[in-house]
Amino acid sequence: MWCFSQVKGAIDEDVAEADIISTVEFNYSGELLATGDKGGRVVIFQHEQESKNRPHLRGEYNVYSTFQSHEPEFDYLKSLEIEEKINKIRWLPQQNAAHFLLSTNDKTIKLWKISERDKRAEGYNLKDEDGRVRDPFRITSLRVPVLMPMDLMVEASPRRIFANAHTYHINSISVNSDHETYLSADDLRINLWHLEITDRSFNIVDIKPANMEELTEVITAAECHPHQCNVFVYSSSKGTIRLCDMREAALCDRHSKFFEEPEDPSSRSFFSEIISSISDVKFSHSGRYMMTRDYLSVKVWDLNMENRPVETYQVHEYLRSKLCSLYENDCIFDKFECCWNGSDSAIMTGSYNNFFRMFDRNTRRDITLEASRESSKPRATLKPRKVSTGGKRKKDEISVDSLDFNKKILHTAWHPKDNVIAVAATNNLYIFQDKIN
């Protein structure tokens, strides 16, 4: 049973393009939740401790810090506009009282530090209490400034800028388990960076053919293994996943494992290749499995079995008959992401009409929920939704034709420990949690 907890963002019907959320990510403890939007902003929410007089509610997430991570830019050499849209946010494991995250747009990755300050110095020699500069000739004695407590201030400061390493658009960043390197992937290449070195990165995968006309596939996502520092995977637009071992060679052009499910010849169609393109790949927390999302399904793969996934979940199979119109309105190219719950026992991914789907891996039960303003009363239980799949539409069911394809849930995140989820629906961020009785 999931219930509504909070909704963030404006209620207005006209949505400003810049306000559309483009990524959602919990940090390692789940205490902070970051979102990035098309306007290049990053908003961080902090979990407030639950209050004693309202024990039925887990604490809420409130805005902790907001900052402009990326600005629109123009590449004069290539005459290209570089959007400020935040493509991905990745938190770094916490290393001291401050928090760090990587944010990226199409070209540039930035390392941000988010820190608190609760003291300030008073009694400067060269300026007054109100900040005016004192006349140096009037200063007759030196005093040592003192530190005074002040209201808590949260500051976000850019610490490193990793630029000029990607010719194509960055689609993924992923921090390595050695905590000193991370990888960044664009359409054709994957680079490995050291978190402290900004002027150099190593190219570890390059699938660019000598002749661009021979290009048949692109990299769609990449991720480092959560525990094994030498392993990473990347998925392609052909629906395949390659697992590479960085121990074997400095260049990982040759993969160690190749995950691919043979295509079913009976369902072959013009759209087969498009819908098999993988839009997201995520390792389970245990590191044993990985999950891939293609247009119509989510697949869970055992890293030890390359020829087929161990589990396949249909997300919205009813759209198979609609592919032609989805192709015409470009929806077929939407990149849905997917995520695991903290114990790897359930997975979540988005769909259209502000629906999102959850699959319980043990019971094989699935559920469709909707992120909408209508059910946004505190502690309101979310009602399961059903889409009629042909034949007669039953009561409570929604027909496929009445789905709103402009309302799509591409980005979701699951708290690493608790049953708290964050769902980005256009410009709104919904937070749901399981019901505590």
Binding site: A121, E155, R159, M246, R247
Partner: protein
């Protein structure tokens, strides 16, 4: 701004130092304490108000290491510990490292008692800190306090180090692994065996590649600490494992540290273990590893035990080297090319001619220019053993090809080796084959090449002498003064600038000066102002008569040129020359020159303005 803050920190340190050296300002104890307190609060303020400026924190961390005298001397040095402790936990690695460096420094200024009362608790706090940043910093502090504390505290320190070696976070294990060798050095021999070896073995089989590769480094220092008979059982299994590690980065590290390892384990183990290991690294499937190993070929062979060095090289190493010559990776080949010539001194004349020469020749024909360059740059080793003539037939085409390479950086690199080659090949060979190349570079279309070519000429003249220059180079250089391309005419001037000193007064005055002076009428302003610059440059080489009668009128004329830049540089030259006269002639007081100088000065009259300062100096001299 951070710049100001930084200066403030530095200023703080330096000014107080000065005050202290004047006398014992803070003799009285309470005063010292008060002062220390104040100092501490200043530091505290600094730390808290500007904690986001890395450069300031870095400066602060560095300066605090020099603050001992400022806080009242060694007995109060412990009051520097709190700020350094917090600096040792920041996330910025450079700041943390600097703080640790300062802590290490001031640890020496603690008395043994203070060390146990103040310093050691700090190390413990850092070692058991919540954040990895503090624990990594602790790793660097164990070795400085260990030798100076009591045996109970020593036991605690060893325990802390053990704990950090199996820390949850790879960062801390990396820090521990990188300090393992250093810590082992200060430990009593019995603990090296009982403690360090097990830690070393554990770190060397860590799941993180980045930890394992650091253990290789520690291996060097640990091996030097153990008696020969223990090496085989305690260190070698781990080292063998590292040389065959699944991760190329670890094997790379082994290859990179091979010479150190070789020295640390001694000749017996080298013969039995390291030779096959080295062979494997030279044949490694990863090019990075092969390149690192190839780089060590010469050093490894040099350090082999002399009694059967030649045999080992001929039967084990040389076959691998032969394969590397035709490696598929150009970095491997060029790494090899940079050291392979060194083998000739080890193997002697006959072996070099029979076995190495074919390899050199093959590399001289390599498709990659870097490989050829590396061979050419190391010719001196071969020259000593078999003489360069053996190679010259193949050398020449290689040099000519590089000299005309389409990439200007390649051309630049070969120019830089020209003086060396000229020295080895001798003047006749040079005149016959290479001189035309050197002159051709002077009219290269890339400025950097022309510039390097003029510099090259200077070095050649230094090598072959002024007479040679007069016969072979100077006429050609001066001939370019009439070239229709103004860039080439300027090259003449640049060459004259470079050559005048090496050629001496005679050639400069008689042959070069007339050409320069004639060029002052050039129609291109860039040439004219370069004439002014050249005149200033060659002025010191010329005799005073020429300066007075020939240079001065031309400069005066240029100083009234219609072009602003020409005017400017002419005036620069005039005052520069004046300065030169003032410094050399006048200060070595010589009445004749002095009179000449006055004459020189007066004759310029009001056409130049002499800077005020110089006038004052002149007045003083009067």
């Amino acid at each position: 701004s951070s710049q100001q803050h930084q200066e403030a920190v530095h200023h703080c340190a330096s000014s107080r130092c000065g005050e202290d050296s004047h006398g014992k300002l803070y003799k009285n104890d309470t005063e010292t304490q008060l002062y220390s307190l104040k100092m501490y609060s200043i530091i505290h303020i600094f730390y808290n108000t500007i904690y986001d400026e890395d450069e300031v924190l870095l400066a602060l961390a560095e300066q605090l290491g020099n603050f001992t005298m400022l806080v009242g001397g060694p007995e109060y040095v412990h009051c520097l510990l709190p700020p350094l402790e917090s600096l040792a936990t920041v996330e910025e690695t450079v700041v943390r490292d600097k703080a640790v460096e300062s802590l290490r420094k001031i640890s020496q200024e603690h008395s043994p008692v203070d060390l146990e009362v103040h310093f050691e608790p700090l190390v413990k706090r850092l070692a058991s800190g919540d954040w990895f940043t503090s624990r990594t910093s602790a790793c660097g502090l164990f070795s400085v306090c260990y030798p100076r504390v009591s045996s109970t505290v020593k036991a605690e320190i060893r325990q802390h180090f053990r704990t950090l070696c199996s820390d949850d976070t790879p960062m801390v294990r990396r820090a521990a692994a990188s300090k393992l060798g250093e810590f082992a050095k200060v430990l009593e021999p019995e603990y090296v065996k009982s403690d360090i070896i097990s830690l070393f073995t554990a770190l060397a089989s860590d799941e993180q590649d980045s930890v394992r590769l650091l253990a290789v480094e520690a291996c060097v220092s640990i091996a030097t600490l153990l008696p020969q008979e223990d090496l085989e059982t305690l260190v070698m299994p781990t080292l063998r494992q590292a040389a065959e590690d699944k991760s190329w980065r670890v094997r790379y590290m082994v290859a990179d540290k091979f010479s150190e390892l070789q020295k640390a384990v001694g000749s017996e183990i080298t013969k039995n273990d390291l030779v096959p290991a080295f062979q494997n690294l030279l044949k490694d499937c990863e090019a990075e590893v092969r390149a690192a190993a190839a780089n060590k070929v010469k050093e490894f062979c040099e350090n082999l035990p002399e009694d059967n060095r030649e045999q080992i090289i001929m039967t084990h190493i040389l076959p691998c080297v032969k394969e590397l010559v035709s490696d598929t990776n150009q970095h491997v080949k060029s790494a090899l090319a940079s050291v392979i010539m060194g083998l000739s001194t080890i193997l002697g004349k006959d072996n070099t001619i029979e076995h190495l020469l074919p390899l050199f020749l093959a590399q001289l024909k390599d498709e990659c220019p870097e490989v050829r360059l590396n061979i050419i740059s190391n010719l001196d080793c071969v020259n000593e053993v078999i003489g360069i003539r053996q190679l010259s037939q193949s050398l020449l085409p290689a040099i000519v090809e590089l000299a005309e390479d389409a990439k200007w950086r390649v051309r630049l690199a070969i120019i830089e080796y020209m003086p060396l080659l000229a020295g080895q090949l001798g003047v006749e060979f040079f005149d016959e084959k290479l001189n035309t190349l050197c002159m051709a570079w002077l009219i290269d279309h890339v400025y950097a090449i022309r510039e390097a070519a003029t510099c090259n000429l200077m070095k050649l003249v230094e090598k072959f002498g002024a007479e040679w220059a007069q016969n072979t180079i100077v006429p050609k250089v001066l001939g370019m003064a009439n070239d229709p391309n103004y860039l080439h005419r300027m090259t003449t001037l640049f060459c004259i600038n470079a050559l005048s000193e090496a050629c001496g007064q005679e050639i400069t005055t008689k042959q070069m000066l007339p050409v320069v002076l004639k060029m002052s009428n050039d129609q291109v302003a860039n040439v004219r102002f370069n004439v002014a610059k050249s005149l200033q440059k060659i002025g010191p080489v010329l005799d005073s008569n020429a300066l007075q009668t020939e240079v001065k009128p031309v400069l005066e004329k240029l100083a009234t040129d219609s072009d602003m830049d020409v005017k400017y540089f002419a005036q620069e030259a005039i005052s520069g020359m004046f300065d030169f006269l003032l410094s050399t002639k006048l200060l070595n007081f010589n009445s004749l020159n002095f009179i000449f100088l006055l004459f020189f000065l007066c004759s310029f009259g009001p056409s130049i303005t002499i800077p005020n300062q110089r006038l004052q100096r002149l007045a003083w001299l009067w």
